[in-house]
Structures are given as structure tokens and as C-alpha cells.
């Protein structure tokens, strides 16, 4: 059955129609990025996880971090649990890799703010 979903790739929020019986054909998208999103959302939905980790040796006590790619939605909570065990030492720079291939996904956990 054709499923209707809202595209979250950009703030425009297109109303996509995805047909699992027709090779996950996507319609209703206004840009090409809606197609892979629509397919993935039904087959294997993924999300970027953003959070903070503790940091020592700086005025700030928390450092924002993110997965540099989307991870499977089902793994979000596990990623959060892992993030909560991490403590960084200042200085850090935007893009510094904290954990490579987090939980065997293709995503690295990276720093989002310069903190010295």
C-alpha cells in the first residue's frame, strides 16, 4: 500500500508518497533529495544523533557532538547511552573524531564546537 510521509530532509516538508509494491517509488518530492529519503524511511529509517558530552579543562562543561552521518533509528538510544559515557579533554576542534564507526555503523561521532 502506498504510504504518505513528510520529508524531513529540509524545512520545506514535502508530502511524499512511497509505494513499497513498486520498488519503493517516491512521488510528491520537489527535489531529488526526497527520493533516497522516501525509500530509506520505509526500508531502514535513519537519523543523525546530536547530543553533548562532558568536557574537562575548559570554562564550558559540555561539548556538543553529532554523528557525522545518519544512523539506523533503532540504534539511536544505544548511541545515546554510549555518548553518555564519554568525557573529553579541552582543547577540541569542530570535526575532531571522538569515536570512529560508532556501534559498527558508517557514522563517526564528531565534535561540533571549538572549545579551548
Amino acid at each position: 500500500m502506498v504510504q504518505e510521509i513528510i520529508c524531513i530532509v529540509c524545512p520545506r516538508g514535502c508530502h511524499l508518497k512511497v509505494d513499497p509494491e513498486n520498488d519503493y517509488e517516491v512521488t510528491g518530492n520537489s527535489c531529488p533529495r526526497g527520493i533516497p529519503y522516501g525509500k530509506a524511511e520505509l526500508k531502514n529509517p535513519t537519523r543523525v544523533v546530536t547530543s553533548t558530552v562532558k568536557i574537562k579543562g575548559a570554562d564550558l562543561t559540555r561539548c556538543p557532538v553529532k554523528t557525522d552521518q545518519a544512523v539506523p533509528k533503532a540504534k539511536m538510544q544505544e548511541v545515546m547511552e554510549l555518548i553518555n559515557t564519554i568525557t573529553l579533554e579541552a582543547p577540541v576542534r569542530v570535526g575532531d573524531v571522538i569515536t570512529k564507526r560508532i556501534l559498527d555503523t558508517d557514522a563517526n561521532l564528531v565534535v561540533c564546537r571549538d572549545i579551548s
Binding site: 537519523r47 559540555r62 556538543p64 553529532k66 545515546m80 571549538d114
Partner: protein, 428 residues
């Protein structure tokens, strides 16, 4: 007499608007610019917006808030722009030749600065429980969503275990997800309007992803609790916003987050005699973001509340450019006959700019606005002059109050209108 330090341009606020305005003014030839920022860091609200989704329009990639502001902080480092951190602007005075900015900081005490031009970039603040008058006790555990965001994301404190969110503005939605991921239970998001206040994508990825129910046309009618919040009453409201008896739902929660709107922070603007627009709570501006007070410009959330930082950046760049032109050559001076006022019909909440000086428009002027209700069917945004002739029209497949719209009005069309008013409306 105290020695008054002089600048070409003083920018009040070092958030996304102030940063982009400074970079733009520097790029356009000013070399004597000061940013006054009350926080210890540049970046403003973006520092606590650790979620991603910023920059899709401007950088064509998806960044977190801190990453977005870093792009501009890095650009600023290549300019001669001076930054006064931990410094509060207390007062702004306007005179013929100079704008006077009174500032205070622990390191330098009280100082009076002056500049040829000022850019207002103070942003906005959250509406509070006092603004919306929710009945109930004054228990602890009631936070503004942005305030909770600061505690959680910058200071590392959780605000509660079982949470209800009033208002479906973007900050509230983002916090619903954030608190859930950090282990809290978010029982519901309650919105008094019949439509969500935030972007569709945030309804999906912040509420639906975590099975958090959204109650439209509902509100909180009571908060109970002695020391800490213990119970909240939610009720459906009728078309006039009046609670309907018999629809009560009771939630045992310890925390209430309020995401009930943002108000541009214009105390300084008022003191300087800048005319405000009651519809936006921000200054009335011309096409180049100059306020009706000559030499004072405004951009970002102090001008009107945005939903995308990308548009703040664009607006701030335009203000920075205009302020640089003003300092260099006196800016735009024109006759009243060449000023077009933009009016709105009941479907449109406001426009920015509110006034257009045709002489100052190079090729086209971008007009931002919000609709006041949901338009699900394709409709047209129509500009009509005083003889009711259609000057321009723009098709939209759908429009939502939560999403700011914009259109480009070519100068050519503006030159041939009858009268000095254009009315913007939504037509079928």
C-alpha cells in the same frame, strides 16, 4: 567629560544576525566595526541549538547550531571587527550625526560609545507563563523551552523526569526529542491552535519518531503541586480558545515546558525612538533593513521572529551592506512620493520590509511574510496597488503560519504602480 570612543558601525548582539552583519559590513569596506555581546561567547542562541538542520539553504549542507555560527566566527577572524564580549548595551540614543551606545562590562565599567551607524541584532526572548496566564500554583518545574535547552545543552542539567510541553513551537518540539533521548518521559505536546506552531519536519522527527502525542486545540488549564509540579490539567478549547468542560485530561508530571512564542527584544530600539510595528513587535524597516530612525538598521529575530537561521543570515548581510553604504555615502535619501507602503489583508500577518524606497531597489526587493492560517490548496499571493490593479502574483502549492514565506518583487513592477500603497493578499 569622558572620552567617547568612536566607530563607523556598532552592532548590538553577536548571534547569527550580528555575526553575518559584521562580516558583510567589513566586506563592504568598513574597517572600524564593534560587536557588543552580553554573553561570554559569540554565537548567541545557536550555541544551545545543538541539533542539526541549520544551513541547508545557505551552505547547502546540514549543520548543528554551533557549527553554523563557527562558520561566521571564522570569517570574522579575518576582518578587523572588534568584539566586546560580556558587555551589555544599556541604552541607545539617536542624534543627527551620531548614534550613542551606552555599554557596561566588569572589565571596562560604564562607557559611552558612538558610531555613524548602528545595527540592532539583539534577537528575541521567550514568552513566559506570565505572558499567557496559566492558572495554578507556583511550583518549581515550569520552564521556558529555551531556558530548559540552555540548562540541558550548555550546563548539563536535566530539567525533569516526566514532562509535558505546552505549545508546539520549534524549540518545544526540539526539546521533546532532546529530553526523550536523555531519558525523560515526554507525555504529550499540547497546542492551543488548531495547527502546529513548528515546522512539519520537527513534528515528524521530534514527536512522531518517539510516539509523543500532539493535542491540537488543547491547552493547559491548571498546574498543581506544592513545591514541585505534580499534576497538570489539559483541556480541549473551542473556536474562541475557551476550555470545553468535560474534556479534562490529567497528567501526573514533574515538569512543564512552555514553547509559546518569541518576542523580539526591542527595549533599546524603543529608547532610541525607533518606530515599532505592533504586528511583528520589531522595527518598521525599509527595503535595506534601515529603521525609520536614520542610521539605525535591524536584522534577525529582533526584526521579526524567523524559523530558519539561513534567512537571518541573508537579512543580516543585507543590513550590513546597507549600513556600510550609509557610513560611506549617507545611504538612501528619497522623497515621500517614492516610498511604497506595504499593507496586508486579513490572511497575512505582516510583511518585512513594511516600506520600500524605489530608488534604493537595485533589481528586486525580497519581501518576507507569514500567513495567518493554513492554506492547503494551491493559492496565489497577490500584490495590488491603490487602483486595485494586480501588480504581481506568486503561486504557492500550500502555506502554513509556521513557515515564513518570501517573494521577490522586481523594481520594474514597482515603478509603474498607481499610488504609494501595495496591498498583499492571498487569493484562490
Amino acid at each position: 567629560m569622558q572620552n567617547i570612543k568612536e566607530y563607523q558601525l556598532i552592532i548590538i548582539g553577536g548571534g547569527p544576525a550580528g555575526l553575518a552583519a559584521a562580516v558583510s559590513a567589513a566586506k563592504n569596506g568598513l574597517n572600524d566595526i564593534l560587536i557588543v555581546e552580553r554573553d561570554k561567547y559569540l554565537g548567541g542562541i545557536l550555541n544551545q541549538c545543538i541539533h542539526n538542520g541549520f544551513g541547508l539553504h545557505y551552505f547547502k549542507e546540514e549543520l548543528t547550531g554551533p557549527e553554523y555560527s563557527k562558520r561566521f566566527i571564522d570569517l570574522l577572524a579575518d576582518t578587523s571587527v572588534e568584539v566586546a564580549l560580556d558587555t551589555m548595551a544599556l541604552n541607545l540614543e539617536n542624534s543627527e550625526d551620531w548614534r550613542y551606545v551606552h555599554v557596561m562590562s566588569s572589565s571596562d565599567g560604564y562607557r559611552i560609545l558612538r558610531s555613524k551607524a548602528v545595527i540592532l541584532a539583539m534577537g528575541c526572548r521567550e514568552r513566559t507563563r506570565m505572558n499567557i496566564q496559566i492558572p495554578g500554583t507556583r511550583a518549581a518545574g515550569i520552564f521556558n523551552a529555551g531556558q530548559a535547552q540552555l540548562y540541558v545543552n550548555l550546563e548539563g542539567y536535566m530539567v525533569g523526569k516526566k514532562v509535558i510541553i505546552l505549545g508546539s513551537g520549534d524549540v518545544g518540539l526540539i526539546m521533546a526529542r532532546r529530553l526523550t533521548l536523555e531519558g525523560a518521559e515526554v507525555v504529550a505536546c499540547v497546542e492551543v491552535m488548531p495547527y502546529p506552531g513548528g515546522l512539519n519536519r520537527n513534528i515528524v522527527q521530534c514527536l512522531q519518531d518517539f510516539d509523543i502525542p500532539l493535542y491540537l486545540s488543547h491547552t493547559i488549564t491548571d498546574i498543581k503541586g506544592r513545591n514541585r509540579v505534580e499534576q497538570v490539567t489539559v483541556q480541549e478549547v473551542d473556536q474562541n480558545g475557551k476550555p470545553i468542560a468535560g474534556t479534562e485530561i490529567y497528567y501526573d508530571v514533574d515538569t512543564v515546558l512552555l514553547s509559546v512564542g518569541l518576542i523580539p527584544e526591542n527595549e533599546l530600539s524603543r529608547e532610541a525612538g525607533v518606530t515599532l510595528d505592533p504586528r511583528t513587535s520589531g522595527p518598521i524597516v525599509y527595503e535595506n533593513k534601515e529603521t525609520l530612525a536614520r542610521g539605525i538598521f535591524a536584522c534577525g529575530n529582533v526584526l521579526h521572529v524567523h524559523d530558519l537561521v539561513d534567512f537571518v543570515t541573508e537579512e543580516a548581510e543585507s543590513a550590513g551592506h546597507a549600513a556600510a553604504c550609509f557610513v560611506r555615502d549617507g545611504g538612501c535619501v528619497t522623497e515621500d512620493a517614492n516610498i511604497i507602503s506595504l499593507k496586508t489583508d486579513s490572511n497575512i500577518g505582516y510583511t518585512v520590509p513594511q516600506q520600500i524606497r524605489i530608488d534604493d531597489v537595485e533589481k528586486a526587493v525580497r519581501v518576507f511574510f507569514r500567513v495567518r492560517k493554513i492554506f492547503k490548496e494551491p493559492s496565489r499571493i497577490v500584490f495590488r496597488d491603490q487602483s486595485n490593479s494586480e501588480i504581481a502574483s506568486f503561486k504557492r502549492p500550500f502555506m502554513f503560519p509556521a513557515e515564513m514565506e518570501n517573494v521577490n518583487l522586481p523594481r520594474q513592477l514597482l515603478e509603474n504602480i498607481s499610488g504609494t500603497e501595495l496591498t498583499v493578499s492571498v487569493e484562490g
